[in-house]
Symmetry: C2
Subunit: 137 residues, 2 copies
DNA sequence: ATCTATATTCTACATTTGTAGTATGCAGTT
DNA sequence: AACTGCATACTACAAATGTAGAATATAGAT
């Protein structure tokens, strides 16, 4: 379905994901901005730097050319990362089946009827709204 | 009901999960049974053994007392593991919001209207059926 | 008792990830 | 020039995980 020429989404760890969130939120940011956005995590500066470095090496982040205090920005979108993680997760835990996921999850975790109603609404909307990617099988 | 004794669900890696699947499927199994069930993975025997050992150490698997060719069996249910993984996943990737998950995911990945209908049905059923769990959190 | 095949244990190594100390570079101030 | 602070780099270490070789135990066949 996605052919062989799919952009390879790098794997992003739990803590790294936090850093990415900041970048996705801000679009771009200097180190101090990132640091202060992550203030509550009480990570040492070097820790954050290490993560940025690794994210760069992985191709998830880049530094805008010629910026003095470096401006970091994401090279992969939150959407593609989410999709990637989601597919991996479903494959791993639910045999790749969204249906199985919903069935089990909604049973396991107590979702209130209100929440279920919300989900129903969301799904309904998705259905009616045409997703026009026909792109042949 | 379980008060503070919340059973701690161990973290289970991707490959380890495969081993657990076998155990969940069979209920219990000897090493050779497990091995042959995982045949297609082309893992060396020791690899599988290592995983079993680690799963035991983690408290995810146990050996039935006094069985000659050891009988391994799961100590944690697929359901609780799934719940655990799911919550962690949602927290990590979707800010803990199922709604966000559905919205994004259904948009990102092309779900056919049929699939959406199926999901709708599943959700509807969940709503009407009493879920008599006590609320957790 | 010996051999052999399967069962079980021990040890090892690379990679990924979280975490962080230390060191150096550079710019503005004294 | 020296000092002070932030910016950036280099190095390190432990835990988790995937992967597997080597060694030993043990039961049944010879």
């Amino acid at each position: 379905m996605w052919g062989d020429f799919v952009k390879k989404i790098p794997s992003i760890g739990e803590a790294e994901w936090q850093v990415m969130e900041v970048l996705w939120e801000k679009g771009q940011a200097t180190f101090s901005e990132i640091r202060s956005a992550l203030r509550e995590h009480n990570w040492s500066q070097t820790t954050i730097h290490t993560m940025l470095t690794r994210l760069i090496k992985k191709g998830a982040v880049a530094i805008k050319e010629g910026t003095s205090p470096y401006l970091f920005y994401p090279l992969v979108s939150r959407e593609e990362c989410r999709r990637h993680e989601t597919l991996a997760f479903l494959r791993r835990v639910y045999n790749g089946s969204v249906k199985l996921f919903l069935t089990n999850f909604v049973n396991d975790v107590d979702l209130s009827d209100e929440e279920i109603d919300e989900l129903l609404k969301v799904l309904e909307k998705c259905k009616t709204s045409e997703h026009s990617h026909e792109g042949g099988k």
